[in-house]
Each structure stands twice: as C-alpha cells, then as structure tokens.
Assembly symmetry: C2
Homo-oligomer: 229 residues x 2
Amino acid sequence: MSNAAGLRKAVVLVSGGLDSATALYFAKKKGFSCHCLVFDYGQRHVREINAARNVARRAGCPVTILKISLPWKGSSLIDRRRPIPGAAQPQGRVVRAIPDTYVPARNIIFLSFALSYAEAIGARAIFIGANSIDYSGYPDCRPRFYRAFGAVIAQGTRAGVEKKSIKVYTPLLELTKEQIIKLGTLLGVPYELTWSCYKGGGKPCGVCDSCRLRAKGFRQAGMEDPSLR
Amino acid sequence: MSNAAGLRKAVVLVSGGLDSATALYFAKKKGFSCHCLVFDYGQRHVREINAARNVARRAGCPVTILKISLPWKGSSLIDRRRPIPGAAQPQGRVVRAIPDTYVPARNIIFLSFALSYAEAIGARAIFIGANSIDYSGYPDCRPRFYRAFGAVIAQGTRAGVEKKSIKVYTPLLELTKEQIIKLGTLLGVPYELTWSCYKGGGKPCGVCDSCRLRAKGFRQAGMEDPSLR
C-alpha cells in the first residue's frame, strides 16, 4: 500500500546505532515512506533511545517508541547486576561465541512488533540493520534466521495468507562495518547523532564490543567518527 | 533445566479463555513446572486478564502479566472504533475467512516473549492453547505456522544454536472444542474461572465468534458451561 505521495510504506527498526541509521537512509533512498519503530526495553541508559529518536527525526520520518518489559532479563545489556563484557574477544577477529550481551529472542520480539505494525498500516516492507560480519555473534543476526522468519510471516499472518506477504529487508547483513560506514556516508547518514556504546555515560566507553566494532569500522573506512568530535 | 523439585520448566501462555486453561493443566499433568505468561495488550476489557490470573493462581503457578502496546491496532479486538463482528458466519461451519478480530501478528509477538522468557529461565518448553479446528480462522493458529516458528527458534536463539532448542507444544491444535472440554474436565480445569467472550460486560454476549464456539463445545460435550451458572 502506498501513502498519499505514492511512496511505498516501510517499517524501519531504529536502535540509535549506526547500522540501523544506515538501514533507514537506505530505505529512504529506495523510495520507501519510512515509519520508524524504536524500543525502550530496559537498556542501561536512555542515550540509545534519544539517539534513535533524533536519527528518525533528522530523516523526517514518524517515530513510534514502544516500551516493552522483559522482567526475566537474561542479558547483561538489561540486567545491572551483570557486568558488560569488555575486550574479552581479541580485536579484529570474528567473534564466534554468543556473548553475555545477547538479549534472549530480542530481534524476534522486535520483528514481531514491526510485522504487526506493517500489517496494520498496509506496509509490505520491514527494514532492519542486522549484520552478520562485524557483529557480536548474536544468532538473530544471521541470514538463516531471517530466512526462517520469512516463513513465519508467510504462514502466520493475514498478509502472508492473502499472498500480500511482507518482506524483511536486511541490506547490511553481509557488509563489513567499513562498507556500512562508506555506504552510509554516501547516503548522508548523520552518524554524529548515533550511539553504539552498550554502556551509558557522557561518552562511549571504547572498550565494549560495540564500541570496538564501531572504531574498527571508522578506522578501516579512513574516517573520523563524528560522534567523538 | 529443572527446578528445585526436579520438574522440567515450561512457559505457558494463558489468555483467560478455556483453551489456554486446558493447555496449562495439560502441561502440569505432563510434569512441567509451569510459568504462566499473560498479556495485557489493550483488550476491550480486563475480565480476560483477571480470568487468566485466576486460572494461573488456581493451578498454583507463578504468573507474569506483561503490558504491551500495539498503538497501530488493526483489529476490532483492540480498537473500540471497530465493532466486534456478530454471527456473520453460519454456525457449525468451519470458518475460513480471517475475521476483523484478527490482531496483526499477535501470536507471533506472544510466542516471541514466551521464547525470551524460556531462554532466560532455562525452560525447554512453551505451551500455547492454539486450535485449528473450532477456531476463528486466524492464520497464527495453523499447524504450518507453528512448524515455521520452530525453525525461527532453531536459527534465531542461543538455545537453538547450542542445540538446546526450545519446543512449542500445541496440545489442542487438532482437537475439536468438544474434545478440548472433555480433556480439560478430566484434567480438572476450573472452567468456571475462564472467560471467552470478545466483549466485556457482566456476562458473555453469546453472539461473538468466541462465545458461539464455546457454547457449541459445551453443548456437544453434553455439559453445562459452569461460567454461565
């Protein structure tokens, strides 16, 4: 279904990090009218949510912030009693073990809400900035997960049954962080508004997995990280 | 993972209706230590949530009530501006069209949370009282949807990757309402505590799809519905 301007609608999951910001600008470039969906799921800090809101607003897109509760926690990302792991993995190496920052079924929950939203507004596309190259080893960032989720959409929704299926686009899935940053720079992504650090605080910790992957990306792209200026 | 008493843990989705109550008592009978999960998702009335809480308490199981927001609505079940359909479908006939009470991606969202909960507490089982025989024609109540969701668990969770996969049990999927009620009666399900009507009010409307399916089930089982006493 298209909006008043004839643009196709898409729901875009926006986290405040650089990947989802790039996915949003990619979707816009592809001609989608984007509806941003942001989750407040008990992250350790609100910086991430503010960053997500700011990125969506800069892109000129409506943004919905949903508060969800995961009282069972099960991840250091949302449980203040568990420390955020530091540089436990050697830098530069692809991380294989699933770290303690993995939030049980997080992307499945996020995609389910995005799917509900897309079905309700007649969007046929969902964008998510998942990445399986320079990533933390989360199972819900792998191509095979997205293929499986596609089957759930086809079998478990009205849109799927009525053959108006909704597609999950993962444009960054097989890109390195360097490639993502170069692509985003071409697309005009306001990286200065994004926030990647797993911890809160005034500035990124520089030690957590997410900070290290981001720093590596900017270094390899030969660029300065504008959020550190 | 087992609890202190050596019982295997399960997460059970409890809605307040008779199907999920039967699924809960079935899981208990199978020897699971059940953790009930109830959603407050903007249903038209709180009767359903109160019924779910009462059923879980009667079963002696811990219950978590999660409030989730679906601001895009897209269903007469959660949008007060849309009427609940009445007896639009001829009684006794299997309903094929997807009615307006379908909530976009609802069971996918519910299962995603149940999956997160199960992973966090080390449960290897999720029970849901979905039924594809005497049902309203929802796509997320069909066997093929549950098969597809199984693949998502295998590919998108830590449990799946580590080959400790979590299984979704749908013990009522292929039973008629009559068979469900007879099974539940044997299991001691307190049907007097359950609530099926899509509308609120002091007593069930008797007209909505859910009321009609329930009434048909009790009639065919040759029993009086204890909630109408």
